[in-house]
């Protein structure tokens, strides 16, 4: 499937902040000083031994890393292939999101910022941000769409318990896209003391690269863990669900230039790619600008950004990160679309076969086994990006449990 791929293609960001033609920093001048400060410092700070030490220590002692790479025996038997699950669901706060917020809070401290803002959809990134702010004793403001606040009451309560202020985004469709707009507006209005912790591999350069690098711990661990299990570092397939794409970016990162590793990105088809209620950006999106970067996004012919739909709040975003747009355009990654129904079934199946309740986001990645066959000796690593506790109400309602 990747036969026509150029071996020397670069999938990482270039010095100007682009992945191929995607990325960059399409921001109003009001944001320039903040973004530029970050751009000039992020690599330098991340390379400091003290930073590395503190980051790794917190990932180990606080997050609980390394997260296991678990051979899912019964699931493997059912689909007659070798399936490993990268258990990001076992992290503190229940998802991969904390890897990035730990990294960014340490970055913010080194840049002398004492006020933290974030956007959140389902609330996972908001909880992960509120958590690290409590850990570091920093003020935390989380923007969340008014509709999402109603849909995700437990996570709103968690954020409040952790000391964060949750501000409803009342503009537009009052969901993740608008929460992101509000966070950006807050940053414009607070240009000196504030750091914006973006939760996905989106936004103006250097965010997609910085978030990807903080999340790349996922693929770093997969390499040595798979070596222990299988005697080789590279799986045949890597599978991750993708909304903005931070867990996918972290899962792929150290394998991007390993040409024997096939990469599968799983988008949310919602009610079906052609139903008008979907979040399958690689199919429905066109090149454009969203939240400060050039990427693939869902929009009208007139360039107005449209509302996506997915049962999973974490995949309900009208764009993908610029790295993923590049992986899609170059054919490096195979993009698949999974409907609500397919994802919910796959989620329930994992409960029954492995005793793991996955987040609905992660269930999308698991659903590909019904669509695509693998050889019996293929090693397929699936990123289980989060646990399903937050989705219980959705599962209950869907399956009439």
């Amino acid at each position: 499937m990747n036969g026509n791929k150029e071996n020397n293609m670069n999938y990482n960001v270039n010095e100007k902040g682009y992945y191929g033609e995607f990325g960059g920093a399409y921001i109003p001048e009001m944001l320039y000083p903040n973004v530029e400060e970050l751009r000039q410092n992020y690599l330098k700070v991340m390379a400091e031994p003290e930073f590395q030490k503190e980051f790794n220590q917190l990932l180990k002692d606080y997050v609980g890393r390394p997260s296991p790479l678990y051979f899912a025996k019964r699931l493997s038997e059912k689909y007659n292939t070798k399936i490993y699950l990268k258990r990001e669901d076992l992290n503190h706060t229940g998802a991969h999101k904390i890897n990035n917020t730990i990294g960014q809070i340490l970055m913010a401290k080194r840049l002398g910022k004492h006020r933290i803002i974030a956007e959140t959809g389902a609330g996972q990134h908001g909880v992960a941000t509120a958590t690290v702010c409590a850990l570091m004793g920093l003020e935390c403001i989380v923007y969340m769409g008014e509709i999402d606040i109603k849909r995700q009451a437990p996570n709103v309560a968690r954020m409040k318990m952790l000391g964060a202020t949750v501000i409803p985004a009342l503009s537009g469709s009052r969901t993740l896209k608008d929460a992101t707009n509000e966070a950006i507006r807050d940053w414009i209005n607070n240009p000196v003391d504030t750091h914006y912790i973006i939760g996905s591999a989106i936004g103006p350069h250097p965010y997609p690269d910085m978030v990807t690098k903080f999340q790349s711990i996922i693929s770093e661990e997969i390499k040595w863990q798979l070596k222990e299990h299988e005697g080789r570092e590279n799986p045949d397939y890597l599978v991750a669900c993708i909304g903005g794409g931070s867990n996918a970016a972290g899962t792929y990162y150290h394998f991007l230039h390993e040409n024997d590793v096939n990469i599968i990105a799983v988008e949310a088809a919602g009610l079906g790619v052609d139903s008008g209620e979907s979040a399958a950006t690689s199919v429905l999106g066109k090149e454009g600008i969203i939240h400060g970067c050039k990427t693939l996004l869902m929009q009208t012919n007139d360039g107005q950004i449209t509302e996506p739909y997915s049962i999973s709040a974490g995949l309900d975003y009208p764009g993908v990160g610029p790295m993923h747009a590049h992986l899609c355009k170059t054919g490096r990654a195979e993009f698949m679309a999974i409907t609500d129904d397919e994802a919910m079934k796959a989620g329930l199946e994992l409960c029954k076969l492995e005793g793991i309740i996955p987040a609905i986001e992660s269930s999308h990645a698991l659903a590909i086994f019904e669509q695509k066959s693998f050889k019996s000796d293929d090693v397929v690593v699936v990123s289980l990006s989060g646990r399903g506790d937050k989705d219980l109400e959705n599962y209950i309602e869907y399956f009439k449990i």
Partner: protein
Amino acid sequence: MNRINQKLQEDKKLLSIYFTAGYPSINDTATIIEDLEKNGVDMIEIGLPFSDPLADGPTIQASSTQALKNGMTTEVLFEQLKDIRQSVNIPLIIMGYFNPMFQYGVEAFCKKCQEIGIDGLIIPDLPVDVYHEKYQTIFEKYGLINVFLITPQTSDERIRYIDSISNGFIYMVSSASTTGAKVGFEKEQTQYFERIGNMNLKNSQIVGFGISNNQTFTQATEYAKGAIIGSAFVKHVTNEGINSIDKFVKSILN
């Protein structure tokens, strides 16, 4: 000579007004422009509405959302402006976010602007370096002036760079904020106006954000060539409709 450059040579402080095209009603565009000119406004920014206006506060956001609901699109706006030069002589600038222009095709957009008699563009989320590298020759081919923003946080070095690439005026954002966030100026702002005024830039500066009445207009133009009013005007048409534009303009200029 471009109408903007001509206007900047006039020996007076300039009042520029922003409005959102398609708001309050879809067909108000030409009427608003004609009324603003008739009442002595020097320059107009026609806002092309966008679904996700990152640099705008609640007032302009709400007007944009309504304008889109009313059916405003790039095509519709161009159609409404087709004959505008038969009745209007002052400089007209289209202000909008980059994605709708990008989807229309940057060259096609610029060409259309020239046909209509648009004099310049303000695109807050088109970065200076991308413009310089990819689009400057296209803008210049169609005689369009691109206007860049600076803020109190913009470094002197970057202001000089922006000045070197500009060929009309520099849009001086009065404070680090979204539109309509602050009303009036504090010492910090007036010091910033003075600092920029003393840089002897080749381009004139026009101040925007935070201007809503005669007092703030006077303060803003003490060191700058002119001032832009956006949110306050949008609020005015929200509250009073489009029949008392004269009243609004008079309240600023007198």
